[in-house]
């Protein structure tokens, strides 16, 4: 025990360099773990957003663009699918269910999605989990709206509240559909997917608010009141995309073929699992590079520690001599230096992990609103523990070098130091 106390005091005596060492290690560890964590979290958040859907069908465009827009609300659609084509494909004998999706409007920064009650029945996320209501029920009336969990929480909405949807993806005062407010009838449970950040309305509701927007702007003379709109035919002429569920997953290629060869309109059908897989393949290399760079940063952090220990040795020859004089053997000196390196690195690791969690906690809502990714703050995963262990082991190995030098010094110096 006295040896430990002495070692601690020795470190405290060099607290400035020791603090800097710990800081540089903790920052590099934070970077390393942060990259690993965001990488895996982003992947699982994406993969968990859609489940049980066999095909996503939209106007002919890039497969990734269609998936990102229709499912993750990222980007925009290049074209629409006509209602007639949608109904044709929905009638294909192998199709069990479809969910039409109509995007493009927004409510205070949240996406507004026009769909049918089938959405709440068939949409699945995170390995076959269905949507559940925290309060209220599915929309029924033209002007009913169902809010995702985050929309309700962040804007403080409850059932019965009136909301005014804005035309286009960005809120602008001049483009409000303020003559036709929607009434909140239901709020969904949290899913950790973009559903949480979506306002769901019926296709008829979307059609109604766009009745007097036919020429791309509201024409005051042609204004249709909310009640008058109910008298119009509110069947949509087109939708953005739709999700398809089949009676057997092995039929997926045949229905995909059917959609691709559909003559009346150029359409594309994608397998969401395949597109996500391709996406990972494409960005995998960048991820590896990022992880490689942060591993190098961790090495640099350890290198800094070794440098500081090595330069410190000259000043500490007297200290070693004193230790020797009270009975420490050269191998004790060796253990002391290795122990010091390990302890400093371990402190750095602890601080780095703490910094990471603070950072994640602070950045969580920002990441969620910016990327739509739900970041879970859980215990370190197996691969993170492996990384931490690797850094700790590396610090022990790195500590050996100054330790061996100190060992040699103490052998040659004995108790008399010739500085």
């Amino acid at each position: 025990m006295p040896i430990l106390a002495l070692a601690l005091r020795s470190v405290l005596n060099r607290r400035l360099t020791a603090t800097l060492m710990v800081l540089s290690i903790s920052l590099s560890v934070m970077l390393l773990l942060g990259v690993e964590r965001l990488r895996t979290q982003a992947r699982s958040a994406f993969a968990n957003t859609i489940s049980g859907t066999d095909l996503v069908v939209g106007a002919r465009t890039g497969a990734t663009a269609l998936l990102l827009h229709a499912v993750f609300r990222i980007g925009y659609a290049t074209n629409n699918v006509s209602w007639a084509s949608y109904q044709d494909i929905a009638r294909h004998p192998r199709v069990r269910w479809t969910i039409p999706l109509s995007l493009g409007d927004s409510y205070r920064g949240f996406a507004v999605l026009g769909t049918t009650p089938d959405y709440f029945r068939h949409y699945r996320y995170a390995r076959d989990r269905g949507l559940q209501f925290a309060a209220g029920t599915v929309f029924d009336d033209v002007y009913d709206a169902v809010l995702g969990a985050d929309v309700a929480r962040e804007l403080g909405h409850d059932r019965g509240d009136a909301i005014v949807v804005a035309h286009g993806a960005v809120d602008a005062d001049s483009a409000q559909h303020d003559d036709k407010p929607f009434r909140v009838v239901g709020i969904l449970r949290r899913t950790g997917t973009p559903v949480d950040r979506t306002v769901h309305v019926s296709l008829a509701g979307l059609e109604a608010i766009h009745l007097d927007w036919q020429s791309g702007m509201r024409v005051p003379d042609a204004a249709v009141s909310a009640d008058a709109a109910r008298q119009h035919d509110l069947t949509p002429t087109s939708i953005t995309a739709f999700l398809v569920g089949l009676d057997s997953r092995t039929a997926v290629f045949h229905v995909q073929r059917f959609v691709t060869e559909y003559r009346k309109e150029p359409l594309v059908a994608i397998l969401p699992g395949v597109v996500l897989h391709e996406l990972w393949d494409a960005i995998g290399l960048a991820e590896q590079a990022l992880l490689g760079v942060s591993a190098l940063v961790a090495l640099v952090g350890l290198g800094g520690m070794v440098t500081a220990l090595l330069t410190g040795l000259g000043e500490r020859r007297r200290e070693m001599a004193v230790l020797r004089s009270v009975g420490a053997r050269p191998r004790h000196i060796l253990a002391l230096i290795v122990g010091e390196a390990t302890a400093l690195a371990a402190t750095g690791l602890g601080l780095g992990v703490a910094l990471l969690y603070v950072g994640l906690f602070l950045a969580r809502s920002f990441i969620q609103s910016w990327l739509g990714l739900a970041i879970e703050i859980g215990l370190p995963s197996l691969s993170e523990w492996l990384l931490l262990g690797a850094v700790l082991l590396a610090s022990m190995v790195a500590g050996l070098w100054p330790a061996i030098r100190a060992y040699r010094y103490s052998l040659s110096d004995g108790m008399t130091v010739h500085v």
Binding site: T250, L271, A390
Partner: protein
């Protein structure tokens, strides 16, 4: 891929151990099968294709007869019969992986198809040349269309639709990268 990166880092620093995955073995004998074993003897879609090619050559795209033939071909494809005698046997089959479900790194459900790129460029394989695989433990995947070997109990599953005949399913499958 992602564990590979972690292990790479460890190796850089000079550690480097890889745990081998324990392989669950089954007492029942596993029969290694090939894709043609999944086609009942006597089923020959080539006849139809030859007829289709010959007839279609002198038809216009929108000719109702062309559409009729295409429809006939589609029905033959979707209704391709399965080999009932293989049902409920332990089999090992290799092919290409098309992901359906999974998390960011591992696949829990996928289609196994006999040739690479079986989804866009050519007509899809007949339904008896597609096997739906649900993995026992999710398979940490490599690239898209990776070649894998699947071991498990083969079942035939009736689709709700009358046109289609049964489809092949392998449940609780063990999946390994294919070693030629």
């Amino acid at each position: 891929m992602h564990h590979a990166a972690v292990l790479f880092f460890i190796a850089v620093i000079g550690l480097g151990t890889i745990g081998a995955r324990a392989a669950a073995s089954s007492a029942e004998e596993v029969q290694a099968i090939e894709w043609r074993n999944l086609v009942p003897p006597g089923y020959n879609p080539t006849e139809l294709i030859t007829k289709y090619r010959r007839d279609v050559a002198d038809l216009k795209d929108d000719d109702p007869r062309a559409l009729q033939l295409a429809e006939a071909l589609r029905k033959a494809w979707e209704g391709a019969p399965v080999v009932e005698s293989l049902a409920n046997t332990m089999v090992k089959l290799s092919g290409f992986l098309v992901s359906l479900e999974g998390d960011g790194t591992a696949v829990s459900e996928f289609l196994l198809v006999p040739f690479f790129g079986a989804c866009i460029h050519v007509p899809p394989p007949p339904s008896n040349q597609i096997v739906l695989v649900r993995t026992g433990t999710p398979f940490t995947r490599g690239r898209m269309f990776q070649r894998v070997s699947v071991t498990g109990r083969l079942r035939t599953e009736k689709a709700s639709h009358q046109l289609a005949s049964a489809a092949y399913v392998i449940e609780a499958a063990r999946v390994e990268p294919h070693v030629p």
